[in-house]
C-alpha cells in the first residue's frame, strides 16, 4: 500500500518537473536560439575560427615574421599557396608566410574585439545602471555627458590620440574602449528605468540594502539579457574600427598584424596577380563578421520577451 503510494508520488513529481515549471529564461532562450539555424551554424563557424587561431600555429611551417628569401619580391610567381612549399596561403610581398600572418591577424583582431567589448560592457553597464537608478539631477548630468561625448566624431579623436601618444596596441584598446561604451550606457539606463520601480527593488531598499549593492546585485543581473545581445553586436563594430585604424596604418605595428592591415597589404598588391593576399584575410574577416551579426540577431530573437 505504502509502496504503491510512494511510486505514485514519485511519478507525479516526475510529471511535474517534466511539465516545464523549471524552465528558466536562459534555458528558454537557449532552446529558441538553437532553433535559429543561421545563428547556430554561425556559432559553430566562429568557434572553429577561434579554435583555428589557437591550434593553427602548430601546423605552420614558417613563422609570421620570417622572410622566405626565395619568395621575396617575386610573390606572384613563387609565393602562391601550395602545400609543398609550406606556404598554405601563399606569401605576402616581402615573402612572409601568409598562413601564419592570417592566424596572427585573426588572434589580434578577435582579441581587440573581445577585450574592447568587455571594457565597453563593463563601463557602459555600470554607468548606465547607476545613472538610471539614481535618477534626478545625477541622471541628467550623466546623460548630458554621454550626449556630449556621442556627438564627437570619435574616429578623428582616436586618430588624434594615436598620433599624439604614439601608436601602440595599448593606446588602441584604451581609445576604442573609452569611446564605445556610450551606446551601451544609454540602452542599460533605459532598461534600468523600467526595473527600478519593480517590487523586488523596493523590497531591497526597504530592508536597507545600499545603493551600490542594489545596482550590482539586483539591477545588473536583470540586465544581462540585453547586455549579452548588445555585446555580440559590439564585437564586430570594434573589430571594424580596429581594422579601419590598422588599414590607415595607424594601428598594430609591424611585424604584428591584424585583419585590417592584411587587407590593406592585399588590396595594395592586387594589380600584380597576387589575389590570394587579399582573399584569405578578407575571407576570414567577412565570415567572422557575418557570424557575429547572425549570432547577435539570434540572441536578440531568443532573449526578446516580445516575441513569445
Amino acid at each position: 500500500m505504502i509502496a504503491i503510494n510512494k511510486n505514485k508520488i514519485k511519478e507525479m513529481a516526475d510529471n511535474l518537473s517534466d511539465s516545464g515549471t523549471g524552465r528558466s529564461l536562459w534555458k528558454d532562450a537557449r532552446i529558441r536560439f538553437m532553433q535559429n539555424k543561421a545563428a547556430t551554424v554561425s556559432l559553430f563557424i566562429l568557434a572553429a575560427i577561434v579554435l583555428f587561431s589557437f591550434i593553427g600555429p602548430y601546423f605552420a611551417v614558417w613563422s609570421y615574421e620570417k622572410i622566405d628569401w626565395n619568395a621575396m619580391g617575386s610573390a606572384a610567381r613563387v609565393g602562391m599557396p601550395s602545400i609543398e612549399s609550406g606556404h598554405f596561403f601563399g606569401t605576402d610581398d616581402l615573402g612572409r608566410d601568409l598562413y601564419s600572418r592570417v592566424i596572427q591577424g585573426t588572434q589580434i583582431s578577435l582579441m581587440v574585439g573581445f577585450l574592447g567589448a568587455t571594457v565597453a560592457v563593463f563601463v557602459g553597464t555600470l554607468y548606465g545602471a547607476t545613472s538610471g537608478y539614481l535618477g534626478g539631477k545625477t541622471d541628467q548630468i550623466m546623460m548630458r555627458i554621454v550626449d556630449i561625448l556621442m556627438s564627437i566624431p570619435y574616429m578623428f579623436v582616436l586618430i588624434l590620440l594615436l598620433v599624439v601618444f604614439g601608436r601602440s596596441i595599448g593606446m588602441l584598446f584604451i581609445g576604442i574602449g573609452l569611446l564605445s561604451w556610450l551606446d551601451m550606457s544609454r540602452i542599460v539606463r533605459g532598461q534600468t528605468l523600467n526595473l527600478k520601480n519593480k517590487e523586488f527593488i523596493e523590497a531591497a531598499r526597504v530592508t536597507g540594502v545600499s545603493d551600490f549593492k542594489i545596482i550590482t546585485r539586483h539591477i545588473v543581473p536583470n540586465l544581462l539579457g540585453i547586455v549579452a545581445v548588445y555585446a555580440t553586436l559590439l564585437v564586430p563594430g570594434i573589430i571594424l574600427a580596429e581594422s579601419f585604424i590598422s588599414f590607415l596604418g595607424l594601428g598594430v605595428q609591424e611585424p604584428s598584424t591584424s585583419w585590417g592591415a592584411l587587407i590593406k597589404e592585399g588590396a595594395g598588391t592586387i594589380r600584380y596577380d597576387t589575389e590570394w593576399q587579399l582573399l584569405f584575410p578578407l575571407a576570414f574577416f567577412v565570415v567572422s563578421l557575418f557570424c557575429f551579426y547572425f549570432i547577435g540577431d539570434g540572441l536578440r530573437d531568443a532573449l526578446d520577451p516580445k516575441d513569445r
Binding site: R144, D147, I148, M150, S151, I152, P153, Y154, M155, F156, V157, I159, L160, L161, V163, V164, F165, P236, L240, S243, F244, F247, L248, L250, G260, I263, K264, A267, I270, R271, L278, L282, F285, V286, L289, F290, Y293, F294
Partner: protein
Amino acid sequence: MINYIVKRIGIAIPTLLVLIAVSFYLMHAAPGGPFTSERPLPPQVLANIEAKYGLDQPIWRQMFSYLWGVLTEFDFGPSYKYHDRSVNEIIAQGFPITLKYGFWSFIVAVGVGIPLGAIAAIRKNTWIDYLAVGVSIGAQVLPNFVMAPLLIIVFTLWLDWLPGGGWNGGSWQYLIMPVIALSTSYMASIARITRSSMLEVLNTNYIRTAKSKGLPTKIIFFRHVLKPSLLPVISYLGPAFVGLITGSVIIDMYFSTGGMGYFFVNSAFNRDYSVMMGITIVVGGLTILFSLIADLLYAWVDPKIRY
C-alpha cells in the same frame, strides 16, 4: 517645442567647447613641439619662431586666443608644416569635395535604403525579403575600406569603365565609385532599421483596424504606416552622418579625391597638429549641427515627444 530647441542648443554649445578644449590639450600634451626636428634649431631662432606663433604664452592664454579666433573669425591659425598656407586655406580646398560626395552618398543611402527596407517589410518572408536582408547583411560586412579596392578591381582594372581615381572637378564618372563605396554600408543599416520598425508598426492594432474597415492598402501605407516607421531611421541619421564623414578618410586615400580626409591623414603622418585640430573641430561642429537637426526633426515628427 521652443523650450526643447533652446535646451537642445544648450547642449550643442558646450559640446563644441569640450571638443575644442580636448583637441587643444591633446595637441599640447604631445611630446616635442611642432618645431622639434632632427637637427636642433639655435635657441634664439626657436624662441623667435615660437613668439611668432604665440607658443611662448601660457597655455590657457594660447587656448583662449585660439578659441576666440575660431569662434569670431573662423580662424584656425597657420599650418605648422606648410609655412605658406593657413589651416583655413587647406580646409577651404578639401571641404567642398568632401561635401559633394558626402551629400550624394547620403542621398543614395537614404533613397535606396528606405524603399528597400519597406519592400522587405511589406513582402515579409518572400524572396524579395530574403534578397533585401541578404544584401543588407552582405553590405554591412563589406565596409568602405573593403568596398573601395573591390570596386577599383572590378570597374577599373577588369571592365575599364570608370577612372580609378582623381576628382576632375567632380564630374559624374569620378563621383560614382566614391559614392557607392561610401554609401553601401549605411544604405544597408537604414534598410535593416526600416524593415524592423515597419514590421513592428504593421503588427499594431490600429493598422489592423484600418485594414478591417476596408481602407485601400496604398492609403494605409502612406497615411498610417510610413511616418511612425521612419522614426528610428531619423534617429539613425546622426550616426550615419558621422560615419559618412569618417569614411571620407578612406575614400580620399583610395580614390585620390583630395577631400578633407586626405589632408587629415597627411597631417596625421606629418604631425601637423594645427591642421588635424582644425579639421577635427570643423568635422565635430558639423556633426553637432547635424545631430541637432536630426533631433529637432525627430521631435517635430513624433507627436509623443513633448518636452
